[in-house]
C-alpha cells in the first residue's frame, strides 16, 4: 500500500502535471473572477470565500480523470487487481495520493489567493480549515466518479456530470464555514456537518468505488 502511494506521488512529481496544473488552474480561476465581476474590493471580499471554494473544487475536478485512466491504459490496473492488495485499499490509496498532490496544495495556496480577492482577515483561518476538512471528501467522491467512468473513452465530461451533483453538500457546507468565518459569525454547525460528510465519505465510498472498479475490470 505504501509502495503504491509512493509510486503515485513520484509519478505526479515527475510528470510535472501533478502539483503544478491544479494549482495553476486554481490561480487562473481566482484571477479571472475579478475580470468577470469587477474590481470593487468590497464585492470581492464578500464573495472571496465562495470563489476560493469553487476554484478549489474545479481544480480538483480537473485532475480526477488521471486517478485511474493512466493505470487503466498501461495495464497496471489489471496487474494491481491480481496483486495481494484489496481493491478497497487500492482506491483509498489512490484517493489519498490525489488529495496529497491536488487537495493539499490547494489548501496551502488558498490564503495567498485570498489576498488577491481581499478576503477579510478573519476569513483566512476558516478558509484554510474548511478546505482542509472538505478537500479529502472532494478527492474521495471524485475517485468514485473516476472509477465509474474508467472504462469509457473520453469519459471526462460524463465524469464531471456525475461528480458535480455529488459535490453539492460538501461545497455548501464548506463554503458556508468559510463565509461565516469571514463575516466573523459562529461556524460550529456547518463545520460539524462538513466534517461529518468528509469522514462519512472517507469511510464508506471506497467500498462503492472498489465495487464499480471491479465491474469495470471484468
Amino acid at each position: 500500500m505504501i509502495a503504491l502511494l509512493m509510486r503515485d506521488l513520484r509519478l505526479a512529481v515527475r510528470a510535472g502535471g501533478g502539483f503544478g496544473l491544479g494549482l495553476a488552474f486554481f490561480l487562473i480561476v481566482t484571477v479571472l473572477v475579478p475580470f468577470g465581476v469587477g474590481p470593487e474590493n468590497e464585492l470581492l471580499s464578500k464573495i472571496a470565500p465562495g470563489v476560493l471554494w469553487i476554484g478549489a473544487l474545479l481544480a480538483c475536478l480537473l485532475s480526477l480523470d488521471r486517478i485511474f485512466a493512466l493505470d487503466w491504459e498501461d495495464g497496471s490496473l489489471d496487474l494491481l487487481a491480481t496483486a495481494p492488495l484489496p481493491m478497497e485499499g487500492i482506491v483509498s490509496i489512490k484517493a489519498l495520493a490525489h488529495w496529497i498532490t491536488t487537495g493539499l496544495p490547494l489548501v496551502l495556496a488558498a490564503p495567498a489567493l485570498g489576498v488577491l480577492l481581499s478576503l477579510p482577515p478573519t476569513g483566512y483561518l476558516w478558509v484554510v480549515v474548511s478546505l482542509l476538512l472538505g478537500t479529502p471528501a472532494l478527492s474521495v467522491i471524485g475517485t468514485f466518479g473516476a472509477a465509474l467512468t474508467v472504462s469509457l473513452k473520453r469519459g471526462g465530461l460524463l465524469m464531471s456530470l456525475l461528480v458535480l451533483p455529488l459535490y453539492v453538500p460538501t461545497l455548501i457546507f464548506g463554503a458556508e464555514v468559510a463565509r461565516r468565518g469571514a463575516m466573523g459569525l459562529t461556524v460550529e454547525t456547518p463545520l460539524l456537518m462538513l466534517a461529518g460528510i468528509s469522514f462519512g465519505a472517507i469511510a464508506l465510498l471506497p467500498f462503492a468505488s472498489a465495487a464499480v472498479l471491479r465491474i469495470n475490470l471484468r
Binding site: 505504501i2 509502495a3 503504491l4 509512493m6 509510486r7 513520484r10 509519478l11 515527475r14 510528470a15 493505470d71 491504459e73 498501461d74 495495464g75 497496471s76 489489471d78 496487474l79 494491481l80 487487481a81 491480481t82 496483486a83 495481494p84 492488495l85 475490470l217 471484468r218
Partner: protein
Amino acid sequence: MELSVKNLAVARGGVPVLEGVNFALRAGRALVLRGPNGAGKTTLLRTIAGLQPAFEGEVQGAEDRIAYAGHSDGIKAMLSVAENLRFWAQVFNRSEIDGALDGFNLRDLEDRNAGSLSAGQKRRLGLARLMVSGRQVWILDEPTVSLDAASVALFAEAVRRHLAEGGSALMATHIDLGLDEAEVFDVSPYRAKPRVSAADEAFL
C-alpha cells in the same frame, strides 16, 4: 498444490467462447495453450487469473498464487527500470530485484527511464516483474511478442529456472520455447457451442 480447472466455461462480452475445459497444472510443469486467434486463450487466462468471473465451472488453487502478464506490461514511463521493478516487488511484499534484473539482462538499463526503452526491452521488464512477484504460478499471455531470439532464450531460461524451483507456468504462445517440461494444450476442441449469453437468455 496444483492449479486445477474443472469444467470451466469462459465468456467474452457475455458470449461463451470456450466450455468444458479441464486440466491440472502441477508444480514444476508448464502448460502451453494453443489455438487460432479469437479461440479464447486470452479470455481463459484472464478468467484463471481472476480478472473476470467464470461463466461456468471453477478454478482451484489460483487465489493469491498467480502472477499475471497480459498484453500490456503496466510499466510507468516516468520511472526507471529499477524503480518499476522495486514497486512491483513491494506490492508483493518482497524486496529482491537483482535476480530479475540479471535474469532478463536489464542490469545495464537499470537507471534508464522506462519510457526510453524499446518495445522488446519493455517486454523484458514486464516479464522480469513476474520474477520479483515471488508467485508460484505464472500466467502469461503471448509473452514473447516483440522479443528477439536472444531475449526469447533468456525468457525460456527464466521459465526453466522457475519450474526447477517448484513453480509452474501457464502460457499462450505460438513459439516453441524448447521447454522439455511443457505440455501443449490445444483449446480448439473446447470451442463453445453457439448459444446466447447468460444475460440474453432470459429474453428468449
